[in-house]
Symmetry: C2
Subunit: 279 residues, 2 copies
C-alpha cells in the first residue's frame, strides 16, 4: 500500500491528476474548507478522500495545483497548518508562477519548518488512456518523480534548483499559449478583411504543423482566455518589467480579457475562432 | 519574346525575384536614380537592365518591392513619372503594408491615371533550385499571375480586391515572424534561469515542428530584426490602435529594436539565440 499523498487543487488539472493517482492505487487526501461546491464535486468525482487539514499534514508530499494568483495564499494557509506539526509534508508547488514568486513561496514554506520543492506541469489534464501532461520537479525530489511515474503519471526531474521548473513553465506557456493567442489575433484580423481562407491556405502550404496546432488551439482557448490573462501577466513579470518583451505579454493578457469578454457578451470573435478550422 | 517588366526593388527580395525572371527570359527594367551603391550592385548582379525612369513607363507592369516605410514614397515617385505618359504601367504593390496604406497608395496611383493592383510576397527570396516565395495578387491581375507563374515564380490570385493581399501579408507575417520573436523572448528568458535545455526538451516532446521552426528562426532573425521593427508596427496599425492586440505588435517592434541594438553592441542576446539550436 502506497502512502497517502495530499493535494489541494480546486480545478480540472488537479482533479484529473488526483483521479489518475487514485486509479493507480495511491490514496489522495484533500481538504475542502473554504472551497466551492464545484471544487467539492470535482474532488468527489475524482475519488479523492476529503479530510480535515490536520490529517493532510500526515502525508509525506503536499501538491499545490491552483491558479497562479492563489499560489501564495495556499502556501500561507499551509504554513498555518504546519504549526505544532513535527514533520509536515514536503510542499510541492506545481503552479504557473514566475521564478521570483517561487522563491517567495519557498521562504514562506521554509519559515514554517517544511521543505519546499519547485515543480511545474506541462500539457493538458490526463484523460482516458492518453499519457497526460509531464510533471517537472527540481532534482531534489527524485523520489516523488519515481512515485508519480510508477502510478500513472509522467514525471521528470530538472537540474537548477528553485526557479528552474517555474522558468520552464513560464517559457513553455509563453511559447505555446503565446502562439495560440497570436494566431487568434491574426485570424480575427484576416477575417475582418475576408482573407481568413487565404491565410489558412498560405499557412497550410508553408507551416502545416503550425496550422494544425492553431486549428486545435483557436476554438479551444475561448473558455480558457479568462484564466490565461493572469498567467500572461505572470510571464510579463518573469521577463522583468524593464525589458521590452514584458510588454508583449502584458498586451497578450489584455487580448485574453477581450476574448473572454467577447465570449461572455456578443460572441462575435468567438464565432470567428470556432469557425476558423473549417473556413 | 516576353514584354519587359519594370521593377523598383532595392533589397534582396526584389533582386532575387528579378534574377529569377531574367533567368527565365523576361527582360526586367529598373531605375537607380537616388538609390544606393548596394542597390546598384544587387541590380547588376541580378541581370536587371538599368534604364531612365521614362523608359520604365513603357512596361506593362511595374512591381514595387520596397521596405514598408518606402512604399508610399515610391508610389508618389511613380505618380510623377506618369505625367504626360498616355498608357503608364499597372502599378503592382507587393509590399508589407497594411490594408489602409494599400488604399492610400491606390488613391495616389489612380489620381496619376494608372491602374493599381494589390499584392504581397510570402516566403523567402528565391535561391538556387528552390521554388521561392509565393506572390499573391488581387484577382483582377490574373494575367500577371500567369506571366510570373510561366517564368519561374509561384503566383496566385486572391479574391477580395484592394486590401485582401495586404491583409494576408500582415496576418501571415504576424504569425510567422511573431512566433519567431516570441520564441526568441522565451529562449532568452529560459536561458537566464538556466532552463533553455529543459525548454528545448519539453518543446521537442510536444511540438517537434515548432521547435524545428524556432531552431531555424532564432539565429536567422538576428540580422533581420532592425528591418522587422517597422513591419511589426505596420501590423499593429493593421489591428487598429483601439484593439488590445495592437499592443502585442507594438511590443514586438520594441523587442526587434532591442535585439538589433544588442547585435550592434554587446551581442549577449545574439550569442544565446545563435546557440539555441545546439543547447
Amino acid at each position: 500500500m502506497t502512502d497517502p499523498l495530499a493535494l489541494v487543487a480546486p480545478g480540472a488539472m488537479g482533479a484529473a491528476l488526483g483521479a489518475r493517482l487514485v486509479a493507480h492505487g495511491v490514496p489522495v487526501l484533500t481538504a475542502l474548507e473554504g472551497r466551492s461546491a464545484s471544487s467539492r464535486a470535482r474532488a468527489e468525482a475524482a475519488g479523492l478522500r476529503v479530510v480535515a487539514t490536520g490529517e493532510l499534514m500526515q502525508a509525506r508530499w503536499f501538491l499545490s495545483v491552483v491558479p497562479p494568483a492563489q499560489a501564495m495564499a495556499l502556501a500561507r494557509e499551509f504554513a498555518g497548518w504546519c504549526q505544532g506539526v513535527v514533520r509536515p509534508p514536503v510542499f510541492v508547488d506545481l503552479n504557473a508562477i514566475n521564478p521570483d514568486t517561487a522563491v517567495q513561496v519557498q521562504a514562506v514554506i521554509e519559515a514554517a519548518g517544511a521543505r519546499f520543492v519547485d515543480g511545474c506541469i506541462l500539457g493538458f489534464p490526463p484523460k482516458g488512456d492518453a499519457p497526460g501532461p509531464t510533471i517537472y520537479l527540481s532534482d531534489d525530489a527524485a523520489e516523488l518523480a519515481t512515485l508519480l511515474q510508477a502510478h500513472g503519471l509522467q514525471a521528470r526531474t530538472l537540474r537548477g534548483g528553485v526557479g528552474a521548473a517555474s522558468a520552464l513553465k513560464m517559457a513553455y506557456a509563453g511559447i505555446n499559449k503565446g502562439v495560440a493567442l497570436l494566431g487568434a489575433a491574426m485570424a480575427l484580423a484576416a477575417q475582418r478583411h475576408d482573407a481568413g481562407d487565404a491565410l489558412r491556405a498560405a499557412l497550410g502550404q508553408t507551416h502545416p504543423a503550425l496550422l494544425a496546432q492553431l486549428d486545435h488551439a483557436l476554438p479551444d482557448l475561448l473558455p480558457k482566455a479568462r484564466r490565461w490573462a493572469p498567467e500572461m501577466e505572470e510571464i510579463a513579470a518573469f521577463m522583468g518589467p524593464e525589458r521590452p518583451e514584458a510588454g508583449i505579454y502584458t498586451a497578450l493578457a489584455a487580448h485574453c480579457r477581450a476574448l473572454a469578454d467577447d465570449l461572455d457578451g456578443a460572441g462575435k470573435a468567438a464565432a470567428v475562432l470556432r469557425a476558423f478550422p473549417a473556413i
